[in-house]
Amino acid sequence: MTVPAIELTGLAKHYGSFHALDGIDLLVPEGSVFGFLGPNGAGKTTTLRILTGLAQATSGSAKVFGSDVASAGNDVRARIGFLPDVPGFYDWMTAEEFMRFTGSLFGITGSTLEDRVKALLDLAGLADVRSRIGGYSRGMKQRLGVAQALINAPSLLMLDEPTSALDPIGRKEVLDMIASLAGRTTVFFSTHILSDVERVCDTVAILDRGRVVAQAPIEELKSRYGAQKIVLEVTAAADALARRFSAESWVSAVERENHSVVLTVNDIDAARREIPPALVSEGAGLARMEGGEVSLEEVFVELVGGER
């Protein structure tokens, strides 16, 4: 059995009476592109700060490739790459100088360093930029941030909200960089932007108020919640059906789209019993009936938004 890239067990972080993390358990499989999803203030950055040794947990354990981050220190940090949510750079350096500097912190020298600096600046689209970092756009800084996090060819790349402050083009560039890493390293990617997770991640955990409320591969998560969505395409009486279903207690929401009625149900057994007689009673010819596609956003809202 392979050791998970990240293993959090009962991890808690308290600031006085405020519980930033409230005993979270999490497993990040090696090789995955893992989305760590949650609204602002859910505890994502706190988790990453503990994982990188910048903060200490109140209780519980955080392991990276089986090593406890609190005691392993530099041994763990030598295997990870990290990009904080607001990366700070030395403005007086050029991108190339910064990459050489970060490489030297890992003890990388000679032709290995030269090759990596060149390859990563190419990947970040900064190979031809000779100006100092102080004059860079946010997108350029973020791409440099991802590049510097890769200088040690990390086994685990941790990115904290890498796209949250970027314009659409900057976001696309950074997401393309992350997507290109799939299969080469484990990526642990915190964000509150659902579309980013859907685009690049294969597995997701949803964090809310310091607790993990769901963790699964994205498709499994969507299918788990998609089973509660039913699409009915009828030849007639769609409006009457929609009105009728709106009054049912087993229906949470009803949407109308042309000849279709999309039901979000809270009792799938009741739905299976009640839908056929309703179709007959309203005289609606059934053209199609299937489980609906659910977006990650809907899963997220159901898990997180409902309590707000």
Binding site: R49, L54, N74, P84, P87, G88, Y90, L105
Partner: protein, 256 residues
């Protein structure tokens, strides 16, 4: 102490390529070059004011200035102006990287926190020693040009004694900046500590046995006063070690 060398290299390059290369050397060189000239001109200025009735008819007779007056300008300037400048400049020696976020990028690499602090202290100490040495050579050169006499040994001793005190200030500011996020707050605390040290010089044993004795030592060396600097130098060096150690401990416990 993994990462010390690489981070020290960055620190030294940063000094050479940012505003830092201009401020402290600028102040020190200005004072070094102007001191001997001011020493030469001051008696003449006062005499001319006295002759013109500018001093209410009072007649002041001053002896002719010598190299000793030029050196006194130097020791007075470094003991006062440069010391206070150091406190202001070094207020952000640690906290500036924490505020800008660069410390996070560095310390999530295999760089230990003690290495981070020690590299900061070492680079600023090197910068201080080199700057002071250049300033001392400059003031020696101008003194020789103006007064045709400029003994080296007494200048080297007076400057060396002050350097030990300046290293004490550097260590003090390293600790304060590791404790306080605000640069102005750290500078304020540094000022407070130096004022307390100045007050301590009113008490004889403090001058004899503690780093407070280093405050007036450069001038005493220059005047050839019979002072024993063994204890102040020893306790000053011990204080440097303890202050840097305290900075390492304080920064090690800090959440970033």
């Amino acid at each position: 102490m993994r990462g010390f060398g690489a981070f020290l290299g960055k620190e030294l390059r940063e000094i050479l390529r940012t505003w830092r290369i201009w401020v402290l050397p600028g102040i020190v060189l200005f004072l070094a070059l102007s001191g001997p000239i001011l020493a030469k001109l001051t008696p003449e200025l006062i005499r001319s004011m006295s002759d013109g009735g500018g001093l209410g008819g009072a007649v002041i007779n001053l002896p002719d200035p010598t190299w000793r007056d030029a050196y006194a300008q130097w020791t007075k300037n470094i003991s006062q102006i440069v010391t206070w400048a150091l406190v202001i400049i070094l207020g952000g020696i640690v906290s500036a990287e924490r505020r800008s976020g660069t410390a996070i990028l560095v310390l999530t690499k295999p760089v230990s926190r003690p290495a981070f602090i020690l590299a900061k202290f070492a680079s600023n100490s090197i910068f201080l020693v080199v700057t002071t040495a250049v300033g001392a050579v400059a003031t020696w050169g101008v003194t020789y040009a103006v007064f045709a006499e400029a003994p080296v040994r007494v200048l080297a001793e007076a400057t060396g004694v002050w350097l030990v005190f300046a290293l004490f200030v550097t260590a003090l500011m390293t600790l304060v900046s590791a404790l306080i996020d605000s640069q102005s707050g750290a500078a304020g605390l540094g000022f407070g500590a130096l004022v307390l040290l100045s007050i301590a010089t009113l008490w004889g044993p403090a001058v004899e046995y503690s780093p407070a004795g280093l405050l007036s030592a450069p001038n005493a060396v220059l005047l050839g006063t019979d002072v024993s600097l063994g204890w102040p130098l020893t306790t000053g060096a011990i204080a440097v070690v303890l202050l840097v150690w305290g900075a390492v401990l304080a920064f090690g416990r800090k959440e970033l």
